[in-house]
């Protein structure tokens, strides 16, 4: 077992699935000769040819629409949106068309497509290279939404996403690409979509998170362990399907729930999980449901001070959890 970065794990997953299935192909901006701006597809054009790693014109709507049309023909396209911030020109093809295809054709057509996007902030990306876009897709029936936090999860989940017969939005937090490293098995493996992972077991508080902030939650949990507060950290891994069972089991065990995400707080994933717990684990709760999330401003600003003020950090999370533990 070798230690790898998230970006290496992503690249390995794509490469292995392309070798496994000739129907899998990549299309996007700078994915071929450049190997992607984050190098997620480095070397793939040389290995599989430029017909299967297509450098598209700089036009996101057609990247998505063309990938979707190829999926209608039974291909398994992996369109890359260079930054999640650039998904908006293609949003009709994704939310308007792809998500409704199976339902709108009564199952006659499938959309075996994985839309990969680097997302999220904390990298001085400003308003247009830092966006958290997950809530829009989380809200859309017909899409699956995957948000890995570690190299092991990224590879296993991406391979499953590529083999899935539905449109899967695969969100890779760009700050984790090289920052987060971990062991990845040499042998073949996949991880199921819709199954959360308890990254740290605990008995006093349940913290639910995903992506970059999952790591901040783990840091906060370590800090609180020294204060006698035993925190369980649930990594959602996939937002859709949402693993309600794991969330509820944990909440019933600890009696306290906090949700942490970088995306804006209002109407976010945390709000839905809070409603889930309030509706189905009400009798088990012995404290208010807490959210530590991005504030309601349009993405984290560019200036360091303002970006820091926006981002949920281990310290902010720990502060929140201390208050919750005091109930």
């Amino acid at each position: 077992m070798a230690v790898k970065s998230v970006i290496e794990a992503v690249r390995e997953a794509i490469r292995e699935e392309m070798a496994r299935d000739p129907k899998v192909f990549v299309i996007g901006e700078d994915v071929g000769i450049r190997g992607g701006v984050f190098l997620a597809t480095l070397g793939l054009a040389e290995e599989f040819g430029y017909d299967r790693v297509i450098d598209a014109p700089l036009a996101e709507a057609s990247i998505m629409g063309i990938a979707l049309g190829a999926a209608f023909r039974g291909m398994r396209p992996i369109p890359e949106v260079q930054f999640s911030d650039f998904v908006w020109p293609s949003i009709n093809q994704l939310i308007g068309e792809a998500a409704r295809t199976c339902y709108g054709t009564n199952g006659a057509l499938q959309v075996p497509m994985v839309i990969r996007m680097p997302y999220g902030g904390g990298i001085r990306g400003g308003l247009f290279h830092s966006q958290n876009v997950e809530t829009h897709f989380f809200h859309t029936p017909g899409l699956k939404v995957v948000t890995p936090s570690t190299p092991y999860d990224a590879k296993g989940l991406l391979k499953s996403a590529i083999r899935d017969n539905n449109p899967v939005v695969f969100l890779e937090h760009k700050k984790t690409y090289r920052l987060v490293r971990g062991e990845v098995p040499d042998e073949e493996y996949t991880l199921p979509l819709g199954k959360a992972d308890i990254k740290r077991t605990g008995s006093h508080i349940t913290v639910v998170s995903y992506g970059l902030t999952l790591h901040y939650c783990l840091e906060a949990a370590e800090e609180l362990a020294g204060e006698g507060i035993d925190v369980e950290v649930v990594d959602l891994r996939t937002l859709t399907p949402l693993d309600t069972e794991t969330i509820l089991e944990s909440v019933k065990k600890t009696g306290k729930l906090a949700i942490v995400h970088e995306d804006n707080i209002t109407g976010g994933v945390g709000a839905e999980i809070a409603a889930l717990a309030a509706g189905q684990a009400f009798e088990y709760l012995d404290g208010p449901i807490m959210r530590v999330c991005g504030p309601d401003v349009p993405t984290m600003p560019f200036a360091q001070t303002l970006e820091d003020a926006y981002m949920p950090t281990a310290d902010k999370i720990a502060d929140g959890l201390r208050k919750l533990a005091a109930y």
């Binding site: 063309i66 209608f72 023909r73 054709t105 699956k144």
Partner: protein
């Protein structure tokens, strides 16, 4: 293929002689009779659907009356070729019916009944997919189907197939950015896509002069590096021949744009009232070139059909429309238990 204006219709004479379609090359008489019958059937259903809307039995309909020659002429070429796939748009009722949908299936779809082959009552009529007849139309968002059709052609090429994709859209869709993106990508990759613009010069109420500053949309093809033609879309034979040539070109050299000049005989949809924005007498003048009437006249003039046979076709078609209406009207809507089905594919 040089850029040219294509028509086979003789101009109306000053002495009142009416327009007439000449016979095509490479077709049998039986093809024309077959297509005439399909044309009349599509028109009959179209008219009935409009009436059923007024009776409260069809919630919404977009008529293809006036567009049929473009739709069926191109379909005839596609069927003769045998390896084409279609991405129609919402005004392609005649195309979808003529491609093989039965009158009963058509009426089921318009009434939103269980067994609607396109979407089982989930979508607007004849919207979704009819894969047995090689048709996909996912949505009402104009031009969304263009990029999808280009992707479909790309997928066919990856699968080692020689399929030519015909994608249909109205002049309204020419203003969308995705139309540009689709044409650009198709040209870069020399994909076998035929872009068929059914230009009736109206995007609902917005006239062509408010949509583009050029005379012919086909001119835009040159900016992408592929040929574009303006075709008389009221002439089934001209549309057949232009599409036949385009299919040959597309398969070997890449995309073609066919701008088929058609007339919209009805309002935009059953919810629209075109008397608010169309000049008086415009529709009446357009109807003088009704493709149903024109083709019937040709078939009789060329002694392919007698008037009696034309009348017999009309009677048989009307009977089929009547029966289909009754069957669909009496059939069940989808069961509400199916609301949650097929959100995801297994």
């Amino acid at each position: 293929m040089p850029r040219k204006r294509t028509t086979t219709t003789q101009a109306d004479g000053a002495n009142g002689a009416r327009a007439k379609t000449r016979l095509p090359k490479g077709l049998k008489n039986s093809d024309l009779v077959d297509y005439y019958t399909r044309l009349v059937q599509a028109r009959s259903l179209d008219e009935r659907i409009w009436a059923l809307n007024r009776q409260g039995k069809v919630p919404i309909a977009a008529s293809s009356q006036g567009h049929e020659a473009a739709q069926l002429g191109s379909l005839l070429a596609a069927e003769k070729d045998g390896d084409c796939f279609l991405f129609p748009y919402y005004r392609d009722l005649a195309l979808k019916v003529a491609a093989g949908l039965t009158p009963v299936q058509t009426m089921m779809s318009f009434m939103g009944k269980a067994g609607d082959p396109y979407s089982n009552g989930r979508q607007f009529p004849l919207q979704g997919a009819d894969l047995p007849h090689k048709i996909i139309q996912i949505s009402n968002v104009v031009a969304a189907g263009l990029t999808q059709s280009v992707g479909y052609a790309l997928g066919c090429r990856m699968a080692g197939e020689k399929t030519v994709v015909l994608v249909y859209f109205g002049d309204g869709a020419t203003s969308q950015g995705e139309t540009h993106e689709a044409m650009n990508f198709a040209s870069i990759h020399k994909l076998p896509v035929i872009f068929i613009c059914e230009n009736n010069r109206y995007a609902i109420s917005t006239p062509k002069t408010s949509q583009m500053a050029i005379e012919e949309f086909a001119d835009r093809a040159s900016s992408y590096g592929f040929p574009g033609f303006t075709v008389d879309g009221m002439d089934l034979v001209a549309c057949y021949e232009a599409t036949r040539e385009a299919i040959i070109h597309a398969r070997s050299q890449g995309p073609v744009l066919l701008e088929m000049m058609v007339e919209r005989f009805m309002s935009h949809t059953t919810d629209d009232d075109d008397s608010r924005y169309r000049p008086e007498g415009e529709v009446e003048r357009a109807r003088e070139r009704d493709p149903v009437v024109t083709l019937a006249r040709t078939l009789i003039d060329e002694t392919i059909l007698t008037q009696k046979q034309v009348d017999e076709i009309a009677a048989a078609v009307l009977k089929a429309t009547d029966e289909a209406t009754d069957i669909a009207d009496a059939s069940s809507p989808p069961d509400e238990s199916g609301l949650h089905d097929m959100v995801y594919s297994p």
